[in-house]
């Protein structure tokens, strides 16, 4: 065994030097030589200022976190407080978790007393799947007797805004769509990385009228841009057609 241990130590020192340092440095050298832009993170500069990366999504919200109507909005994000490049990640919410789908009658609904119930006692007029929040704004997924809930002025429950049904309601309201208009699924679900740079083409088309109104542009000019910044599938069939949000918004800003 001793001779194996000695050989192991020698081998390990060797591979640490060659593979731990030599190999990454070789790749770095070659990449910086041939693919400098990509290797640095596909960075985008505007007037000499770094404004982001073509591969990373970013938030288009004001200082209070409200979405800016003049910009196309990316997907919901679970990276930190939203598109945090230092904290990538997903929601990891399961497909029947009330924090994701809301309280769906007969599936995961709970009565005020904490027992499973056939209907959702927190349902509001606009959101039958409403998940209530406590007065601090934290969603309550395990109602119990004595629990206090936040209420709207009209007495209805305040709903957790991050469930898919609530996001769909907000999306329609923000974009001036009819209350039962279909919403593309990517617009109301969070990505795996929390840094998804893209939205679906449908999502961009649904947002275009709002952006045009906010920027006082004819809709056709905004739609032209959407089409110009739509990438097809790679090699015709790999992946999905997408619209890069940052590049599209940069192009919008250039229209001025």
């Amino acid at each position: 065994m001793r001779r194996h241990l000695v050989a192991s130590i020698v081998m390990l020192i060797g591979v640490t030097v060659v593979l731990g340092f030599g190999y990454p440095l070789l790749i770095t050298g070659l990449s910086q030589l041939f693919f400098r832009h990509q290797a640095d993170g596909s960075l985008i500069y505007r007037d000499g200022t770094l404004v982001g990366s073509a591969l990373l999504g970013q938030s288009f919200t004001d200082s209070r976190g409200n979405p800016l109507p003049g910009y196309f909005q990316p997907r919901p994000s679970d990276a930190g407080s939203g598109y945090d490049g230092g904290d990538s990640g997903a929601s990891n919410l399961g497909p029947s978790n009330p924090l994701l789908i809301g309280f769906v009658a007969g599936v995961n609904t709970v009565g005020l007393g904490g027992k499973p119930s056939k209907t959702n006692p927190f349902a509001t007029k606009s959101d039958p799947a409403c998940v209530p929040v406590n007065p601090q704004g934290t969603p309550v997924t395990s109602p119990a007797p004595g629990q206090r809930y936040a209420r709207n002025p009209d007495g209805s429950y305040v709903c957790d805004p991050d469930t898919v049904p609530e996001r769909a309601i907000a999306y329609r309201r923000f974009n001036g769509m009819a209350p039962d208009a279909p919403v593309p699924v990517d617009a109301v679900t969070a990505s795996a990385s929390g840094l998804d740079p893209d939205i679906s083409v449908q999502n961009a088309l649904d947002q275009a009228p709002r952006v045009a109104r906010a920027r006082h542009l004819p809709l056709s000019r905004v739609l032209d841009l959407v089409h110009r910044y739509t990438s097809g599938r790679e090699l015709v069939f790999l992946g999905e057609p997408t619209v890069n949000v940052l590049e599209l918004n940069l192009a919008l800003d250039r229209l001025r």
Binding site: D40, R233, L238
Partner: protein
């Protein structure tokens, strides 16, 4: 599934069918002994290694010596990686200012990467320094893959060869690294950088966003890690989001390229086995079983994910169209869509990579069950580098034995009689991992340190815990990541499970090989069971399903299957 989904699956299948035999031919020439392709370049690199190690590259060892070297190398590697992680805050090359990793998390991470599991309980962006990722984790990813291949070579020699010895570990390890993993990694890494994966040492850059805020843009030597993470069937990523992060997997093309980097080499190793053993038909039979299982769990998941989550409101459009990827998009990237995400993520579950490009915890119950099945059948579709072949050869011995009992003949594999001593080892091999998974998993479900880490309620929570143990024990490393795994209980138990799940099967497989090495080879007669035809392949498939299915069926009922029918 949609046309685009089938096209991507067909693309993967075609490239694999074309490239795996070619690569397998190269591997066989490399490891047969004697002259090999590229000797002029590689030999001058290898000779100094043997000189430094003081080994005679012509020597060949007993299985015991081989296993001892594997264990010694594993032990030393874990100690060094542990030290690097513990001290990373005090070491150079740390532009993100990662602090020293705490002791238990360092143990868990060291065990995880040395065993090729790559379970990650730490945050990649902020909790591991560039130095630790390069000199610690990447080195572990190289050696884990190479050790797997080396052990498979020893197992092949023992089961099929005529010598009493099984080879020389240092030679197998060195040749695997120099002639297979390093050249392929350099190629893979450069392709990934060209597509947009990053490779720099700049730490975080701060961007001033259009909306007037700031954004941290991460950097790091990412591509170099990404390539060996996949080629070595490791799965551990530079960033927390792993293969979903646009800096690791930037396009729909890289998504499929990364899947190919994972699965081609394990299939090529099976083809190599066919050439080295002189029975290519045997290799085709094994590869066919692997491919059928791969297609099974992958297609089911793709179908489930593109179908979507039926609990979302109907006004949320999950219908696939030219402008809408549709399907279950929670935890998935727009550029991949639901089908390619499931293809990549669940496709790597039958290897020990578990390199995900989407959040498994948010998969539909059936989609998630596909990932479970890939792992629970023992990582043989096509399995880790070498590990997949070793595992399926052990299962083939079991199948030969069962078939032998059914027809009343002494079972033989490669003309060697399979008797009591071998069968005891085979049974120990097949039972080790299920026992560890079920005992520790069910313990975690009933004690507070175990169940308090669960994120999702109900049956999905049971899946989170059982998946963690199944993934660790099979050295997969993917996760239902809602589980808070950076706790004393999980760092300790999962770390131990990974070590058991790696080294016990390796020693048992080597012992089986050793017990067959030099055994008398009986001539083939008309009554010899043909182990390379479709009949045996189907029989082997059945044995795998029964062994995996019966052991884990109750758990699957309580987890994903139950969730499917209750919600």
């Amino acid at each position: 599934m949609t046309l685009a989904g089938w096209e991507q699956l067909l693309f993967i299948a075609t490239v694999t069918v074309v490239t795996a035999p070619l690569l397998g031919r190269y591997l066989a020439a490399t490891f047969r002994g004697g002259k090999a392709p590229g000797d002029r370049v590689f030999l001058p690199l290898e000779r100094p290694v043997y000189a430094a190690l003081r080994v005679n590259p012509e020597s060949s060892w007993s299985w015991r010596a081989y296993a001892a070297a594997v264990l010694a190398f594993g032990l030393v590697s874990i100690l060094l990686l542990y030290l690097i992680l513990r001290l990373q805050g005090h070491l150079p090359l740390n532009p993100t200012h990662a602090p020293d990793m705490p002791p238990l998390l360092s143990f868990n991470t060291a065990a995880s990467f040395i065993t090729g599991t790559n379970w990650q309980a730490y945050e990649g962006e902020t909790a591991a320094s560039y130095l630790a990722q390069m000199a610690g984790l990447v080195v572990a990813q190289f050696t884990a893959g190479a050790v797997g291949l080396a052990v498979a070579l020893a197992v092949i020699r023992g089961i099929t060869g005529s010598a009493r010895t099984v080879g020389n570990f240092w030679v197998d390890l060195t040749r695997s690294l120099v002639r297979v993993f390093v050249p392929l990694s350099i190629l893979g890494a450069l392709v990934l950088v060209g597509q947009g994966a990053v490779q720099n040492f700049s730490g975080f850059r701060t961007a001033d966003t259009l909306a007037g805020g700031t954004q941290q843009i991460p950097g790091g030597p990412v591509s170099s890690m990404e390539a060996i993470k996949l080629l070595g069937t490791n799965g551990g990523s530079f960033y927390t989001a792993g293969g979903a992060h646009p800096f690791e997997n930037p396009t729909g093309f890289t998504n499929m390229f990364e899947l190919l980097l994972v699965i081609v080499l394990p299939f090529a190793i099976v083809m190599m086995f066919g050439r080295l053993s002189g029975r290519p038909r045997q290799a085709y039979a094994i590869a066919a079983v692997m491919a059928v299982i791969f297609l099974g769990h992958t297609v089911v998941s793709m179908q489930a994910e593109v179908h979507g989550n039926h609990l979302l409101p109907t006004s949320v459009s999950q219908v696939v169209s030219g402008t809408n990827p549709g399907g279950n998009m929670e935890g998935k990237e727009t550029r991949f869509g639901p089908e390619a995400s499931a293809l990549m993520t669940v496709g790597t579950m039958g290897t020990t990579a578990g390199a995900t490009d989407s959040a498994l915890d948010s998969y539909t119950p059936v989609g998630g069950a596909g990932a479970f099945v890939g792992i629970l059948l023992g990582e043989i579709s096509p399995g880790g580098d070498g590990g997949g072949l070793s595992s399926i050869l052990v299962l083939a011995l079991l199948a030969v034995f069962v078939a032998g009992l059914m027809v009343g003949r002494t079972p033989e594999f490669f003309g060697k009689k399979i008797r009591g001593p071998q069968m005891k080892l085979v049974v120990a091999y097949t039972l080790t991992i299920p026992v560890v998974v079920l005992v520790l998993g069910s313990t975690a479900l009933v004690i507070e340190p175990g169940y308090s880490s669960i994120l999702n309620p109900g049956m999905h929570g049971l899946s989170e815990v059982m998946y963690a143990y199944a993934s660790s024990a099979n050295n997969n490393g993917s996760a239902f990541a809602g589980l808070s795994a950076d706790t004393t209980w999980y760092n300790l138990t999962l770390g131990l499970v990974m070590l058991v799940g790696r080294f016990v099967p390796i020693v048992l497989a080597l012992a089986i090989a050793g017990s067959l090495a030099g055994a008398r080879v009986h001539a083939r007669t008309r009554a010899t069971l043909d182990t390379s035809g479709p009949t045996f392949a189907a029989f082997l498939f059945g044995v795998i399903l029964i062994v995996g299915g019966l052991i884990y069926f109750p758990m699957l009922i309580l987890g994903p299957i139950g969730e499917r029918f209750v919600t």
